[in-house]
Every structure is written in C-alpha cells, then in structure tokens.
C-alpha cells in the first residue's frame, strides 16, 4: 500500500501504519500522518501557548477576581465557578474532537472507533482544562487588600 511519496517535502514513509475497515468491508492499511513525537511536541507547544494566554488573562482579570472576593464571593464559590469553566471547555473540546474524527472517517470512508486515542486525548484535555482554570485560584491565597490591586484599592 505504501509508496515512497512526499507530502510537502515531508516523507511519510516511516510513520505509523494503521489498519482500517472501509465502509464496504475491505480492510486497508493507511499511513498515519502524525507520529508520536510530533504529537508530543504539538501538545507541549499547545500547553505553553495556553499557559501564556491564561497568564495574560489572569493578570488582566486579577483585579476582577479580587473585587469579587471583596464584595462577597466565597472561596468555595470561586473554586466551583472555575472548575465548572474547566469542565465546560473540556466538554466542548471533546465534542470538537469527535466531530473531527467523524469528518476524517467519512472523508476516507473508514469505520474505526478510536477508543484508546480518544481516551488519551480527553485525559490530556482534562488535565489542561483543569490546570488552566485552576490557575486563577491562586488569588484565593492572596490578601484581599494588597499592594498589587492599587495600594489597597484606596
């Protein structure tokens, strides 16, 4: 099945092969375009990007979080709110993930249920979502009034 073909100068020759069942029942081997290392590098880059995006978000919103605490949001409520946000992003990312898989499968006309891949992806996603939305919670350990929020908001 494999030819020594190049896609945009990248050889896919050495990358993984996977068996798939076509809609008509025939079994074929299709080369995977992404190997593990690329995936890991991609994820790390994604993670770093998320970290910086969230860091800016956090700095921009730190006063908001502090003000929420001052006017009367309890630590528990803030925790629940952030975990909720993480959970919703997790669900949305997973829905996008499934849609993408279905699109690719219908394009190649293959039937394949990627349980392991899906589980791995969702765990990574869950980890990222939780980390991202837990980060703002460090304000919970800050003093309510401090120099950072304008010398005591005064």
């Amino acid at each position: 099945m494999i030819e020594d073909n190049d896609i945009g100068g990248i050889s896919i020759y050495d990358m993984g092969l996977k068996e798939f069942t076509r809609y008509n029942g025939s079994i074929e081997e299709i080369p995977l375009l992404v190997d593990n290392e690329m995936m890991i590098v991609g994820l790390i880059m994604f993670f770093i990007l998320c970290y910086y995006l969230n860091k800016n978000y956090l700095i921009n919103h730190q006063r908001d979080y502090m003000m929420m605490r001052i006017v009367g949001m309890t630590k528990r409520e803030m925790l629940i709110k952030e975990v909720e946000k993480g959970f919703y992003s997790f669900v949305i990312i997973n829905i996008m993930n499934i849609t993408l898989i279905l699109l690719v499968e219908s394009y190649f006309q293959i039937v394949y249920i990627p349980i392991v891949e899906f589980l791995v992806m969702s765990f990574i996603c869950l980890g990222i979502c939780v980390v991202i939305y837990m980060m703002p919670l460090y304000v919970l350990w800050n003093d309510l009034i401090n120099i950072d929020n304008g010398g005591g908001l005064s």
């Binding site: 003000m67 009367g72 309510l144």
Partner: protein, 228 residues
C-alpha cells in the same frame, strides 16, 4: 442604635525596622443611618481603618462588631457572605468587574447571594443615578464618574446595612465629585443607609454628619456637625 463598633483596633504592617503601625488602638462607634467622614493626610491610616471595619483586613488586635456580630470571630466563608449581604463598597478605582456590563455589575451581589432581583427598585436606582442609557454598556466605555455611579448603584442595589467608600471622588473632576457625594448623601437620606467615607478632602468631608480626624494611626478629633 450602634450599627458598627470597633474596639481597641490595632494593625501593623511589615516586620522589624520596616514595621508600620497603620492604626494604633482605635475604638469607634457608628450610629445607624449616619454619614461619617474619615479625614486625614495620606498615610495616616484612613484606608486601613476602613478595611479593618469592613472585614477585609484582620487587625492584629481588637474586635469589630456589625449589628452585634463579631466579624473576625467567624470563618472566612461566613464573613464573605456577610459582606455581600450587609456591606456595599465604593473604592477610588477598579470597582467594577470588567468582564461584566453595567447592569450585571449592579446586580452582582444579589446574584452571588442567590436572591431575587427587585427589578422595580433596581430600575429606580438606575434612573436616579442616570445610568439608563448605559445599562448594557461595558465598563471600559464609561467615564470615571459613570463608573463611580455604577459602584454606588451596586452598593445600593443589594440594600446593605452599611456602605464603605474609600476616596470615592479621588479620581474625579470637581463636578463629578459633587455628583458622587450628593448620591452618597441620597443613599443616606432616602434609602437610610449608613455611610462611612474616607477622604483627604476637607470640602468633601463637610457633607458628613460626623467627621473623624485621623493622624498617625489615631483619632485626634471627633466632631458632630449639623447638615441640611
């Protein structure tokens, strides 16, 4: 009736040679429905006193009672819920939640507390504070004076027992300052709120029924005055 009472309050910041006695053994009683101004030069401890009275900064010694309840003898969750039920806050800046629009900011405390919003009352406040056109505006679209009015609206909307204002006019021009002060006055007169306002501006302090003068962490003068 005494609504808020501070007893032998002391607060120090920093350690060793950097140690600052921000307030030194202050005791104070606030009458329900009064308008109290706290005046003093910069660094005299006005803000610290306000923060301690409002349950935001735990004093090193002393007690604060709001309607008989000792603020610093309850856990953080209870104190936080007490703040949203019984206190309103107006600071010099950064009062508002920037990711929310005006009306969301105004009803923020009511929502946090899972209470029903009294639409009629909130509309009345919005009208009074001339925020009708800005109801759905975002915070960055507002002028400084408008932002302060939203903060006052938020403080009024939850019908607190007491409103704490720390230099509410510090960032405003003379005209907006007058407006904000008049609105705080209305909060007291019309809605029977107790207001404690910190300011370094003697002119502004003059609207109060009572002026507490602070110097170097101590109350040096406590004068009641008639106000019409």
């Amino acid at each position: 009736m005494i609504i808020l009472e501070g007893k032998n309050l002391r607060k120090t910041y920093g350690y060793a040679e950097n140690k600052v006695d921000a307030i030194k053994n202050i005791s104070i009683e606030i009458e329900e429905g009064s308008f109290v101004a706290v005046v003093g030069t910069s660094g005299s401890g006005k803000s610290t006193l306000l923060h301690v009275l409002a349950g935001l900064v735990k004093p090193n010694a002393g007690k604060v009672y709001l309607q008989g309840e000792s603020l610093y003898d309850m856990n953080d969750d209870r104190l936080t819920r007490l703040r949203r039920r019984k206190m309103g806050f107006v600071f010099q800046f950064f009062n508002l939640i920037t990711t929310h629009n005006v009306i969301e900011n105004i009803v923020l405390l009511i929502h946090l507390d899972n209470r029903q919003v009294d639409e009629e009352y909130v509309d009345e406040i919005i009208d009074l504070l001339k925020l009708k056109e800005k109801k759905y505006a975002f915070i960055h679209e507002l002028s400084g004076g408008q932002q302060q009015r939203v903060a006052i609206a938020r403080a009024l909307a939850s019908k607190p027992a007491i409103i704490f204002a720390d230099e509410p006019t510090g960032n405003l021009d003379a005209k907006s300052s007058q407006e904000v002060i008049q609105l705080l006055k209305i909060a007291q007169r019309k809605y029977h709120e107790t207001v404690i306002m910190v300011t370094h501006d003697e002119m502004i302090a003059n609207v109060a029924d009572r002026i507490l003068r602070i110097e170097d962490g101590q109350i040096i003068q406590d004068t009641a005055q008639k106000n019409e």
